[in-house]
């Protein structure tokens, strides 16, 4: 085809058309290519920290990440001792996060139900607005709030895990409300009306029809909310504090948590080892920080993964 067209027999008109169709404005196509390049570079740049952080944490944390590390606390560990673990921090993180979840989930879900099923008028508009505002509360301010609250109630020297739970739930409630609200809105009105038509009262309709239809999405939302707050450090730093031994009691005394543990080990810096010490590792604090960071990332990623799987496999097919 091309050969016959480029033959000299081609008349003037054809040549003009060919020129107009081939005419590539150099500047424009260059700008187009440059912008495409920039867009690709932007994406690649975004992947750099993701890969870099994950890789660094795994590479530096894997050495110390073992059963001993997971099952021992820091009690009696000092200096550059080749010992110590995060058992107490795991206990604290699990209990405090669980506490936060127990506070946030009922409040969050009921608020979402209020907004979707009952909410009209001023109160609903204010609630929507302030849930948005709450989303923007800096985490350390949530910590200060929990501290102030407990100090007023229990006096200035109060320290307990529950303070952390309260601080985290301030951060968690708006996330739960938002995601639950989205899920409830997806439930088609026909389902509710069908239920009313059968004579089912409204509260049972909400419980048995609306919530049951959207339970997978709500669980996903809750898990993502947990994943978000489980890595919070600052609010726990100012409320729950730091401790080296295990404390199972959420209602009394300081507790250690994983993120605070990472920060605590990091801020201890290099250990001082005397010349004669054989069992002394100078970088032990950093090693523990990395291993704890690895644990934390694994927990968060696992929560994210499970949440996505739940929403993929258990979500009811509302359409089609």
């Amino acid at each position: 085809m091309t050969t016959t067209l480029t033959a000299p027999a081609e008349d003037e008109r054809t040549a003009a058309v060919r020129a107009s169709l081939r005419q590539v404005d150099r500047r424009r196509s260059r700008v187009d290519r440059i912008m495409q390049g920039l867009v690709y570079v932007a994406f690649a740049l975004a992947m750099v920290p993701l890969v870099w952080v994950s890789w660094t944490v795994v590479a530096k944390g894997i050495d110390r990440f073992d059963v001993y590390f997971l099952t021992h606390s820091m009690r009696g560990v000092f200096g550059g001792m080749d010992a110590g673990g995060i058992y107490h921090a795991i206990v604290g993180t699990v209990e405090i996060t669980l506490g936060a979840t127990i506070i946030s989930v009922p409040v969050g879900i009921m608020t979402a139900i209020y907004l979707v099923e009952y909410g009209t008028g001023h109160l609903a508009r204010w609630v929507t607005f302030f849930v948005d505002v709450m989303t923007g509360i800096p985490s350390i301010v949530a910590g200060l709030f929990a501290y102030s609250l407990f100090v007023v109630v229990f006096g200035p020297d109060v320290r307990m895990g529950l303070m952390g739970s309260v601080a985290l739930s301030v951060l968690m409630i708006p996330v739960v409300v938002r995601s639950t609200e989205e899920m409830l809105k997806l439930v088609p009105n026909e389902l509710r009306e069908a239920s009313y038509a059968l004579g089912v009262p409204k509260w049972l309709t909400i419980l048995k029809v609306v919530l049951r239809t959207s339970v997978a999405g709500i669980v996903t939302g809750v898990m993502l909310a947990v994943a978000r707050v489980i890595g919070e450090t600052a609010p726990l730093l100012v409320t729950v504090g730091v401790i080296d031994s295990i404390n199972f009691n959420l209602f009394e005394g300081r507790m250690m948590t994983l993120p605070v543990y990472v920060y605590g080990q990091y801020s201890k810096g290099f250990a001082t080892c005397s010349e004669s010490a054989i069992d002394c590792i100078r970088t032990i604090n950093f090693d523990r920080a990395w291993a704890a960071a690895l644990t934390l990332i694994l927990i968060v990623m696992l929560l994210n993964l499970v949440a996505r799987l739940i929403s993929r496999y258990f979500a009811p097919k509302l359409r089609g």
């Binding site: 700008v31 187009d32 932007a42 209020y114 099923e117 923007g136 509360i137 985490s139 994943a227 920060y263």
Partner: protein, 328 residues
């Protein structure tokens, strides 16, 4: 939705009015869920009230008295002159992070919405979301232990070649525990939220307008410039504001990376120049006298007010955008 009357209430209008809208469990359920909504308002009010109550002593005590009890409080300062540099540092860190993150986020969002193959795009979107899942303390650890060493030479190069710009005035600190490093980490942390918002609005661009641009002989970039970006402008702004709000309140990354100072200084390559409110609270909190804690809470209140203002501005922009697109 308004037909909440149970079927048994099929009676005269008069009787229906007399029976309450609902009884028994129905009533209890409605009250509990309404109560939850009201609780949210109460919690937020409580946050404000308790913070003000705890901050009050610091706001009313003369600076000289605070300085007697609190080592880190400058002797000749008032509360305002103490919090000033912190507000400045907080804004500087957040704005720097924003300047780096916004163009990058727009690029990433465009890649996912308009450049990447459709099948790949969803997976890549998840990858960007994962960035948001990494806890801030891990970013802090990575920033302080790894990134600081890596950017050191780059910052030195910046200081020696662009040092005539006040922002990059040298000598660059070694290790690079400086504002620019902290801002880079903050930028990474706010990328996902800005990207998510931009991606949504880019995908909402009407196909109609994209095709109109292409049919006029626009290249892909020209199509994006004529059809996508003007349409998405307010969405980009509100995404940026949300990112700004997040950057303002971020504690750990700054706390672990930045070597603090209390100056009104634009020297982002030098150590000991600036500090943010959040990082300062976390740093001084553990061993502060009661009046010191009160001072820190007062700074926290300032942070709360700033982030609230930024977030409300973002919501207002989003709301206006809704009006705008509704009118069309």
């Amino acid at each position: 939705m308004t037909s909440t009357a149970p079927p048994t209430a099929r009676a005269t209008p008069a009787r229906r009015r007399r029976t309450p809208r609902d009884r028994g469990m129905n009533r209890a359920f409605r009250l509990v869920s309404t109560g939850s909504g009201a609780l949210i308002l109460a919690v937020l009010a409580a946050v404000a009230i308790f913070l003000v109550a705890r901050a009050w002593p610091a706001l009313t005590t003369p600076g000289a008295e605070i300085a007697q009890d609190v080592g880190w409080f400058p002797a000749d300062a008032s509360f305002l002159s103490f919090v000033g540099p912190l507000v400045f540092g907080t804004l500087l860190a957040a704005v720097l992070a924003l300047v780096m993150a916004v163009p990058l986020s727009i690029g990433i969002a465009l890649f996912i919405s308009h450049y990447a193959p459709r099948r790949l795009a969803t997976a890549l979107g998840y990858a960007v979301d994962l960035l948001a899942a990494i806890p801030s303390v891990v970013y802090g650890l990575w920033g302080a232990m790894t990134l600081v060493g890596f950017v050191g030479p780059i910052w030195e190069w910046l200081a020696s070649f662009l040092g005539w710009i006040p922002l990059f005035e040298g000598p660059a600190a070694t290790p690079a525990r400086v504002m620019l490093t902290a801002a880079v980490v903050l930028a990474v942390m706010i990328l996902p939220i800005i990207t998510a918002v931009c991606r949504e609005v880019f995908l909402q661009t009407p196909k109609l307008h994209e095709e109109a641009a292409l049919a006029l002989g626009a290249t892909r970039w020209e199509m994006i410039r004529t059809a996508v970006l003007p349409f998405a402008r307010s969405g980009i702004v509100s995404g940026a504001m949300l990112g700004l709000g997040r950057a303002l309140g971020e504690t750990m990354a700054v706390l672990m990376i930045l070597s603090p100072g209390f100056l009104y200084s634009f020297a982002i390559l030098q150590a000991g120049q600036q500090q943010t409110i959040a990082a300062n609270i976390a740093a001084q909190y553990a061993d502060a006298a009661p009046i010191g804690v009160s001072t820190l809470i007062a700074t926290g209140l300032a942070l709360f007010v700033i982030t609230m203002a930024v977030n409300m501005a973002a919501r207002a922009i989003v709301a206006r955008r809704k009006d705008f697109s509704g009118a069309n």
